[in-house]
Amino acid sequence: MRDNVMIIDGRDNVGVALRDLTAGEKALCSGVEGLVVTDAIPASHKVALRDIAEGEEIIKYGEVVGVSAQEIRCGAWVHTHNLESERWKK
C-alpha cells in the first residue's frame, strides 16, 4: 500500500496527509506503527503523530511552527483550531 502520510523531519511530532484522510483510517508511513487517524484530515494538512500536551511545541521541518492550544491526541487533525502561533501569542 502507498503511504498516505509523510514525515518531513525525524524530529517532527506532526505528519502531512498526502491525500484526504477519513476518521478511522490507518496512517501508512514508514516510521509510524499503528497510528489511526481520528478526524477527517484534508490533503496537505497535519496529523498528530503522538499525544501532544497543551502548551507543547508543534514540530514540523524539525522546527517549531506553533504551540498546541489544547491537549491533542495521537491521530488528530492539527490546525488553527488547536494550535497557536507562538509568535503572535505574545
Binding site: R2, D3, M6, I8, V16, A17, L18, R19, P42, A43, S44, H45, K46, I58, K60, Y61, E63, V64, V65, G66, V78, H79, T80, L83, S85, E86, R87
Partner: protein, 389 residues
Amino acid sequence: MEEVGTISGYRRNDGGVGIRNHVLVMPTVSCVNGVVNRISREVPESICVTHGHGCGRGGLRDLEILFRVLTGMIRNPNVGAVVLIGLGCEVSNVRALAPQLEGIGKPVTILNVQDDGGSLRTAEKGILAARGYLKELASARREPIAWEDLLVSIECGGSDAMSGVTANVAIGAVSDWLVDREATVMFGENTEMIGTVHVLARRASSPEVAARITEMVDRAEKLNRETMGELAALVISPGNMDGGMSTIAEKSMGCIVKGGTSAINEVVDYGAAPTRKGLVLQDGPGYDADSMAGFAAGGSQLMLFSTGRGTPAGFPTVPVIKVASNSRLYTAMEDDMDINAGDLVEGRSLDSLKDEMIDLMARVINGEPTKPEANGMGVFTFMTVHPPF
C-alpha cells in the same frame, strides 16, 4: 548518488565559468526596447531582453539597483558577448555604466540611438554586431568544470500547499548535495522568511551573518506591515490556511526548506555577487521574476524553481529547471515542467527523486535545454523601490 557524469562549461577571462555561451542584446533604458525587438526578429539566436527601467527614477537605492542589475546581466558568465543599446540622455547611459564594465573580459558593442543615426540605423548596426558575435562564439569549446564553479539559485513561485512538502523538500536535498560539492547555493525572497528568523539566524556561520539575517527579515516584516496595513496578516492567507498551513512560521519553513540544512555563510544585497561558497542568502523580494534577475545579476548560472499552481517563467540567460510540486500540475503543464516532485506522494523515495534532479542538472549544465529555455519563456524585470518621477 555518489557519482554523476562530468560537467562542462565555458571559462571566461575574468575567472568565471558559464554553462551557456549567449550573445546578449539589452537596452539601457525602455525608450529603445523597440530597437532590441527589431534585432530580435532578425537574429533570433541571440538573447534579446527588454525592460521597463533606466530612467525616471532618482532615488539612490534605485540607481544602485539599476546599475548593479544592468552590469550584472552583462557580467553573467553565461553571456559570451553583448550588444548594449543605449539612448544617450538616460540615467543609466553607457558613459555612466562604462566604469563598472572595466576588466569584464568579454566583447561588448555599445550603440547609442542618439549618436548612431536613430532607431533603424542603430538596429542595423546591432544586427551586424550580434551576427558577428554569434559566428565568433560558435567556435568556442566547452571545457570540463567542477561543481564548485557553479552558483545555483533557488526560487519558488506560484506555490501551493504541496510546495513545502514535496518540491521544496526535494530541492533542499539537492541544495545540501551541491554544498557538499563546494558549489555556492543562493536563495532569497526575504518576505517569505518572516517568522523563521530564529531558524535562519541559528544556522548563520557567524554572529555578523546572524545579525544581517535578523535585520533583513525584520525589515521585510516592517515593510510588509507598512505597505499592506490591515492586510499584512494575509501574508498567511485564507488560501494558505485551506492548504493546511496554520502559522506564518509553518508557511515560511515550507519556503526556506528549499535551501536545505547547510550553514548560511553570507547575506548578499539584491543583485550582488556572493563572495563565499556554500549556502548564501540574497536580500531580495519575494516576487519571483524580480528575484531571478537579482540572482542572474549576482552571477548565477543555473536555477531551480519550484511551483505548485504552475508558472512557465524562466530567465533569458540562465537555464531554469522547473519542479512541479504535484502530479496534477505536472500533467496539466507538462510542456513547462522539467521534474515532477509530486511523485513523492505516489510512493517514490526522496533519494530517487534527488538523483533524477542531480542527473538532470548535469545534463542541463552540459547544454540540454530546460523547458523554459526550449519554450522561450525567459522573463526579465527587476526590483525598484521608489515610484517614478
